[in-house]
Amino acid sequence: MSEAAKGKLALYWAASCGGCEIAVLAINEKILDVAALFDIVFWPVAVDAKVRDVENMPDGSIDVCLFNGGIRTSEQEYMAQLLRRKSKVLVAFGSCAHEGCIPGLANGNNRRQIFDTAYRDTPSTINPDGVEPKHHTEMPEGALYLPVFYDTVRTLDQTVAVDYSLPGCPPEADRIWDALTAIVESKLPPPGTVIGVDTTVCEECPRTRNEKKIKKFYRTWEIVPDEETCLLEQGLLCCGIATRAGCGARCPRVNSPCIGCYGPNQGVQDYGARMMTALASVIDSNDPEEIDRIIREGIPDPVGSFYRFSLAHSQLRRSKLVGQSVK
């Protein structure tokens, strides 16, 4: 490909941990191929380009933008809108942009509760004046602004139109390379596609599966599972049954249950609902009281267990908003 025909690539992060940025480098020496095929026009982690440079680009001039992270603040929403306008193809890169991921679990709380914990209640906090972030502060030198912190984390596709999603926390290097290759070769699937494998983690898991009948769920620290049998059959809450494949069943292979970072399989709207359906089929009891006991004892945190990566993208999106929000 000649120099003139090089594509323009942008990468951005919003509410995320930074792991997705590292995951891009996990494609190893192929990153050189990426550099040969694309000009990286914006990537705050690695490249010195400013927001105003992006604002000055013509609309639609970026060929591909890989956007990771959920939308938690007004600044992130602004960047999502800006990069949507400037990009031909916008990819929700990784679980946070796709489904909200761990930052989305804060949707069990609101801004007031989060601020109280972060700026008041933790034992290591000393804040006698009750200082906390404010959007607008008047100082003698002039007005100061901070982004507004939202009550609810939203996913990228709840904020702007998204062309493709690349699931995973973080996406596996092979899948990232598949996606980049597809873009370069113009072999992209129809818009809206989640780029991945249309089956579940169980399909990629080498463990032996029998009929599942569960009388008791165990937390991971309570038992050492054997390395041959299905983890769910041993009573561990393994989410492989509801989770999209594409990772190669990495966690079950090292004796650790799947936690569902690849999100729901093709055609499934609500990840947690699929988990509840699947688990309801394997609990070995027909007595409502015993069922209730098995669930409450074995799954103390149903929201975190069923929606660890997808609360923001679930049908309910967040828990009931309670109390007064902070101005």
């Binding site: 007004s74 600044e75 309801a280 209730d292 945190d301 309910l316 828990s319």
Partner: protein, 164 residues
């Protein structure tokens, strides 16, 4: 005076028992609350938890699942799965801040038209007492979101003006 609260109730009735019971209630001219929206499914075991959550998310104030009595399922044991899903769902929605009593499981055989009508009425009464759910209101950001977005655009416009 404000309009009285008219709850929106979605009821999933199984084809073989409970829907037939509602049919019987109809032919027998038994009156029941008009606030219930009946959806016929082949089996109470067909009711995926996502149907229930979707109903709540789209504005239902209560959801009822009705099927054949345990042991009488047309598909042998699928209503036992319904028991487990129902238990699981009540546990989950309670943690999300939805009163678990907004979800009710009822067994009504094809002969129990009267009982189904009474169950619907008592459920509608219970939901009326709980009041509106109005779930999507939880997704609204408070007023300063748009203001903040506009402020960012303004700040960046200033930044660009001083550029040589």
């Amino acid at each position: 005076m404000a309009d009285p609260f008219k709850p929106k109730i979605v009821a999933f009735l199984c084809n073989w028992c409970s829907y037939t019971a509602s049919d019987l209630a109809g032919t027998a001219r038994i009156k029941y609350s008009p606030y219930v929206r009946i959806i016929r499914v082949m089996c109470s075991g067909r009711v995926d938890p996502s149907f229930v959550l979707k109903a709540f998310a789209l504005g239902a104030d209560g959801v009822m699942i009705a099927g054949c009595h345990p042991g009488d399922c047309h598909y042998i044991e699928q209503n036992y799965k319904t028991i487990r899903r129902h238990t699981m769902l009540r546990y989950f929605i309670e943690r999300m801040g939805i009163e678990p009593d907004r979800l009710r499981l009822v067994w009504a055989s094809a002969a129990e038209g009267q009982y189904l009508a009474e169950s619907i009425d008592s459920f509608v009464d219970a939901v009326e007492k709980l009041g509106p759910l109005d779930w999507s209101a939880n997704w609204e950001e408070n007023g300063d979101r748009l203001e903040a977005l506009e402020a960012i655009v303004g700040e960046h416009a200033e930044a660009m003006e001083v550029r040589p």
